[in-house]
């Protein structure tokens, strides 16, 4: 029973919470109610046996909890009534089946990623509401204290209520503009999981990406983002060997996940057919090219040219330089990297410089660049990787 309950929690939390926000018009109240409903389920289901329709059961229990709280808390009730969203004296509508609970996760996602909320609050709220992560887990992921994260979430929920941020998917003309922060948040969650090896965060981002792609199957950037995440994720097992980082060129391709790779490629093709030429489509195309053998580096450079024109991001310029090194040689690439002074002490600028200098057999300069990169590395695995590369420099030069 216990693992089954855990599964129900993971799979149903967002849908139950969304249904409760829709019902009472308040994220704060809905979250308390959802938490209590799941707690009651944890006590009762092992004894009484699980209900036939767990989602409908949880939504009903949550609605009852929300109304109980409103009957006790007149101030909150008045506030929500002022928003004309709820009549606490009415009976709780009871969905008969799981299918009778409408899927309102997309509304919840757009609420969490509303541009009127600070970007760091958007990410935290999304992880909490859609991902079902507990506040301490989110705090750990963002290297802040639980107290800080709790305040951030509380402040965001209060703003949603007081400023009247809507629980709705924006209408078509506004959708494109509002999609950008949603995609950015999902990709940020993914990178949080990918970079630090937090498998659960990366999986959560992919799940959110799937929800979005299910709901907006015609949006090229939505498909492209999911493709991008799957293509990166397909290489996860090969990125580490005995706890050590393995660069792309040295990865054992047999350890790549063929299903994720195939799905990512298929999604990218769909995105391109739908006219996808935005930043996620281009990044997904780069990721797809890099899984080919041999890699078509001129094509990768051309993709980075397009991405650079679109984003004007110096980080993109740095990644482009890595591809340029394969086409025009490391000297040309080094000039690009040296010119990217704007990146300052961005750690990958120094590790990239070090690799290029190593290939140019400028051992002294390479050693200094590795030292700088090692000093800026954020994980132990990254530091060990750079130290190994540094130790492998030709000592005679």
């Amino acid at each position: 029973m216990a693992p089954a309950l855990e599964d129900v929690f993971r799979s149903e939390w967002a849908r139950v919470l969304a249904a409760l926000v829709s019902f009472c018009g308040d994220v704060d109240l809905a979250e308390d109610a959802a938490g209590e409903a799941f707690a009651v389920a944890a006590r009762r289901w092992p004894v009484d046996g699980p209900p036939e329709h767990p989602r409908a059961w949880l939504v009903t229990a949550g609605r009852r909890r929300a109304l109980d709280r409103l009957r006790r808390d007149r101030v909150l009730a008045d506030k929500l009534r002022r928003l004309d969203r709820l009549r606490p004296e009415e009976d709780v509508p009871v969905p008969g089946t799981d299918a009778a609970v409408p899927d309102e996760r997309l509304e919840l996602l757009f609420l969490c990623c509303h541009p009127a909320l600070a970007p760091e609050a958007q990410v935290a709220l999304t992880l909490r509401s859609l991902g079902g992560l507990e506040t301490p887990e989110i705090a750990r992921a963002f290297l802040t204290s639980e107290e800080t994260m709790k305040r951030r979430l509380t402040r965001a929920r209060t703003k949603i209520r007081e400023a009247g941020i809507p629980f709705a998917v924006p209408d078509r003309p506004r959708l494109a503009g509002r999609l950008a922060p949603v995609l950015a948040v999902i990709y940020l969650v993914f990178n949080q999981g990918y970079g630090d090896g937090r498998v659960d965060m990366a999986a959560e981002a992919i799940r959110l990406g799937r929800v979005l792609a299910d709901l907006l199957p015609e949006e090229p950037e939505v498909l492209a983002l999911l493709a991008l995440m799957l293509l990166h994720d397909s290489r996860r097992a090969a990125r580490h060997l005995d706890g050590e980082l393995v660069p792309l060129a040295e990865q054992d391709r047999r350890r790549w996940d063929p299903d994720a790779l195939a799905e990512g490629r298929a999604l990218l093709a769909r995105a391109e057919r739908a006219g996808g030429d935005g930043p996620y489509a281009i990044q997904a195309a780069v990721a797809a090219r890099q899984t080919e053998d041999p890699v078509d580096w001129p094509a990768v450079v051309a993709l980075y040219d397009r991405l650079l024109r679109l984003t004007r991001s110096p980080v993109v310029a740095l990644n482009r330089a890595v591809a340029v090194a394969e086409v025009d040689g490391p000297a040309r690439a080094l000039r690009i990297v040296d010119d990217l002074e704007i990146l300052g002490d961005y750690r990958y600028r120094h590790s990239t410089r070090a690799e290029l200098l190593r290939r140019l057999r400028d051992t002294t300069a390479a050693r200094a660049a590795y030292d700088r990169a090692i000093g800026l590395a954020t994980t132990a695995a990254e530091r060990r990787f750079l130290a190994r590369r540094r130790a492998g420099l030709d000592p005679s030069e």
Binding site: R82, G164, P166, A168
Partner: protein
């Protein structure tokens, strides 16, 4: 919900505009005032006409000029009735000051 749309103008944003352009801006403000969702509004006189009162030690202190010297100057407001923030944002985006280098701050009006 009721929102206040607080209009901050960039000083000198009307400089160099011809009569037709100025008339167009006035027309846009008037049209907004006539939107059924706009329940009240006012345009303030220029900041140079402001006088500020505050409490200093044990007497009222009266000074010439606005409360704070800022890059933008509070120039007026609309009070709007809108179902949610997105609706208020849509109205705020139509305020000419936004396209003239200024900004609009949207604040929910507190319950009485």
């Amino acid at each position: 919900m009721r929102y206040a749309l607080l209009i901050n103008e960039r000083p000198g944003s009307y400089d160099g505009l011809d009569a037709a352009e100025r008339a167009g801006i006035t027309e846009a403000y008037t049209a907004l005032r006539q939107d059924p969702r706009v329940v009240d509004g006012a345009r303030l006189g220029p900041a140079e006409t402001a006088t500020t009162v505050r409490w200093g030690h044990d007497e009222l202190l009266i000074t010439d000029g606005p409360f704070a010297d800022t890059k933008e100057v509070f120039g007026g407001y609309y009070l709007v009735e809108a179902p949610d923030l997105d609706a208020a944002l849509e109205l705020a985006g139509r305020i000419p000051a936004v396209r003239l280098g200024g900004s609009v701050e949207i604040r929910p009006v507190a319950a009485p």
